[in-house]
């Protein structure tokens, strides 16, 4: 068709669509939001609104953002384009710059998402395209939710999970340690106090194997390994500093957030968590993509099983193990999956300062050190050590125990702390305390992982490192009326009040008779 402008106009639409960029100090958490004034001429042209996304352009940079409409010129004027904090940083252009905006098409890969919704199987290329669009923030949260739900549960077969994992690895950075054996361990989560990494890393590094562990901060739990390690040392290291530490000490315990490893995973998690969905397939893709991006070659995966753990039945744990093995094998990652006792929290403390205390007690061979944390860490470290071709199958546990008992693990930990940079702030246990006591005599037959974690979180963990819950008795312990079950610590009155009101709803402990203690699901 030919298309000729008629004589009565000389307008050039494209020239009209420029706006002055403005930073809006609102953190919209991994979703780009563009703020346009309702009277903005470009917004008017957009048609109608808040439903739509715009594409922001400056030179060869492109960004998609969801539109929010502003009626206050003090915030964003009619000739301005406001961008939320992260979006502004991502675009990387100064305030006041003239940027173009235009109609955004939904990301092309949404057509694949729609096919997945309709129950179709997606190809490797389609997963690649979806991951690329997600990494470039072309998806709004509702679109991410559509993808997650559509591919949830039974929606992805194991080859699709492998392709999704591969696609997630392909976005973002990938570390290369230039060694043949780069060890790692990872727990699927859900068990408070489970800080075995802070023991496994110094033990394995003391054995001489390379174990540069990158961890996350807590998102919905009361402490991540990075939050707890930060009580003792710096955890935000530049890639150069990390490299230095790892070369020197063979191990490190740092926050992985600075390295832009598998950024797609971070975006997916920002929707999965509030939706409370956690599918095996997505869990496998999430964990393996992060580990492969971090340069790991040999990985021990810990799947705790218990009535209040993420995985509640042995059959489910076995299926998950097969899935990890299938995908890891095909992506060239050696995995050992261990199924562990997830009936209750590990150790005593829940919250960064308390968990750091437990870890240090174990390293110092303190007779009061929590035995379960020590045992579990030794077993996991033993499995990692058995990746060493010179170690005979079955000898790992004893090697790990020798390293710990001899004080070499403690020495290694202190060296790692010094290398990363000793923490200059001194974090104290929260001074506001509340004691929760047994209201009947009997035996502790249940400690709800989820509820205890929530209480610690409400008390302020992990933001307030001294906040949390300190368990005094564990499963199987006999208690009298009035015996201390646990102590809540908080730094701030508001947090303290929130935690107490949650304790009042459900304190997380159940007391009954000895025969009601749930059986151990697994012993590895």
């Amino acid at each position: 068709m030919s298309s000729e402008p008629t004589a009565d106009t000389t307008a050039n639409g494209a020239d009209q669509a420029t706006l002055r960029l403005r930073r809006v100090a609102i953190d919209t958490y991994r979703e780009n939001v563009a703020y346009l004034h309702r009277q903005c001429p470009v917004y008017r042209a957009e048609g109608f609104q808040a439903l739509s996304k715009v594409e922001v352009r400056w030179q060869n940079r492109r960004m998609l953002a969801v539109v929010n409409v502003v009626d206050d010129a003090a915030l964003v004027g009619p000739g301005e384009l406001g961008l939320s904090t992260e979006a502004f940083l991502d675009l990387g252009v100064e305030e006041g710059t003239s940027v173009c905006i235009c109609h955004a098409q939904p990301p092309v890969s949404m057509s694949a998402v729609r096919r997945k919704i309709a129950g179709e199987r997606l190809t490797a290329e389609e997963f690649m395209a979806i991951a690329r669009d997600i990494a470039e923030r072309r998806y709004a949260k509702m679109e991410i939710a559509a993808f997650l739900v559509a591919s949830g549960q039974t929606g992805l077969d194991r080859d699709e999970i492998m392709n999704l994992t591969r696609a997630m690895v392909a976005q973002g950075q990938r570390l290369d340690w230039h060694e043949n054996l780069v060890a790692d361990k990872h727990c699927i989560g859900g068990i408070p106090g489970n800080r075995t990494s802070m023991l496994v890393v110094p033990i394995v590094a003391a054995h001489g194997m390379l174990i540069p562990k990158t961890s996350s901060r807590a998102i919905t739990s009361p402490a991540g390994t990075a939050d707890t390690m930060e009580v003792l040392a710096e955890v935000c290291l530049t890639p150069e500093r990390l490299d230095q530490v790892v070369r020197q000490e063979r191990g490190a315990l740092i926050w992985g957030g600075t390295a832009n490893l598998a950024p797609v995973d971070d975006v997916l998690i920002s929707v999965e968590r509030p939706l409370g969905i956690d599918y095996p397939g997505q869990m496998v893709a999430s964990i393996l993509s992060k580990k492969i991006a971090a340069g790991s070659t040999h990985l021990v995966i810990d799947i705790p099983v218990g009535p209040t753990a993420k995985v509640r039945h042995m059959s489910e744990a076995l299926a998950l193990r097969k899935l990890f093995e299938y995908v890891a094998d095909r992506l060239g990652l050696f995995v050992q999956v261990v199924i562990t006792d997830g009936r209750q929290p590990v150790g005593r403390g829940i919250g960064p300062v308390l968990e750091a205390r437990d870890v240090m007690q174990v390293l110092q061979n303190d007779p009061d050190a929590p035995a379960d944390l020590r045992q579990k860490a030794l077993r996991l470290a033993g499995r990692v050590i058995e990746f060493d071709p010179d170690v005979r199958g079955g000898d790992g546990f004893e090697i790990a125990r020798d390293i710990l008992d001899s004080g070499r693990a403690l020495t290694k930990m202190m060296e790692i702390i010094e290398a990363q940079g000793r923490q200059t702030k001194r974090f104290e246990l929260g001074p506001l305390t509340h004691e929760v006591r047994a209201d009947r005599a009997g035996v502790v037959i249940g400690i709800d992982n989820f509820q205890v974690a929530r209480i610690a979180r409400r008390a302020g963990a992990p933001m307030d490192k001294g906040a949390g819950v300190d368990l005094h008795v564990k499963l199987g312990a006999s208690v009298e009326v009035g015996d201390l079950l646990y102590r809540v610590h908080a730094d701030f009155p508001a947090d303290y009040g929130f935690a107490i009101s949650l304790v009042a709803e459900d304190c997380g402990y159940r007391i009954g008779t000895a025969d009601e203690v749930p059986q151990v699901f697994a012993e590895f």
Copy 2:
């Protein structure tokens, strides 16, 4: 368990969690957003952030909102709680009021959504709970997306669709006209220029039947019935005024948005549209819930079928018809579903002023009036008239034609316009025009409904009532090189530019040979 505060604290958490309410002039489009300063003590206590939702409380009012974190005290200070425009209005509390905020649990009905994701069938009670939580804005958009995708396509059986419809009707207002026969008509949409309601209503009302038609404004189309009627008359009527008009004239054409009819539908649509999902089950629940809430008892539903219509195959149209019939029968609504020719736009004009012109030409029996619009309106009006127990089956069309030809429909329309309030603004056709001409000789074999609608929208419709597209030739017409196909009208240069660039991509017309004209899918 007993739970005793220890002596070293007297803090009361609940008292700490009050903030001064502030209105933030940002329209977040049917999602409540709460703005909290990063240093706000309550936000700190919340644990971690933007992932989470808060519950805002004032006296016995409750509201859930997604948290956005603000780093600019000019926007929201540390002691303040900002609420987005709609959320602020919903809460209905003055600025400066002390409101409480606390941890929001995910809406209870999300557990049912998770069961639906897992492929389970939901009960009537579960749909009720979901609809209630959605109506109370307890769902974030990503949660709505999860519900929609999980229940999309094959995910809802027909009884579930019925239960969803019933649950949607149960929220919000329901009009009662105190008559046994309240007629209505509805088209599932997708065909530009299809303004039959503005003809059916005066014809049916002139026949004496009650037809109080509430319509939507365009969301993704270039004009809704409400947008077009507004060219001629007021369409935002209070319930009292509407009642008066309907009593007096037997018919009305108003915007349904003021009446809070089936508000759940509005929320679902705000997510369906940007996601581009449109499942038969949700369409049926959406349309029937709105109509039942509007008090209709007898409804004609128009399903256009064509290669660029919403429904592309006859088999699909028939399945959709059965679904409408199944649900409507069980909810006590009489429906007649007609399948119509959706191969191309109806009439000539696309955009409010242009469509109002077409409608008035038909009412005035102008020899230039678009014949297809007239025919379709007469047939639909005939079907509605046949709901009248005194009309013999098959006689409706002729009764409608007599009413139209005699000028009684025009008279009735003028009376309805006067009763609703004649539009005081005078809307003119957009002065910026662009002519699109044939670049080859042949026969028009395709007019893409979707593309033509997009062009009209880009030109400014429906916000600029004079903007749009005026079709000069339709399917089957012979054209020579240079013959006018259609004319684009716009009010503003930016819109004009956007529309022209879209025309350059794809003008929406296809020219070929006479035997390539697609066959009529349906003739009712």
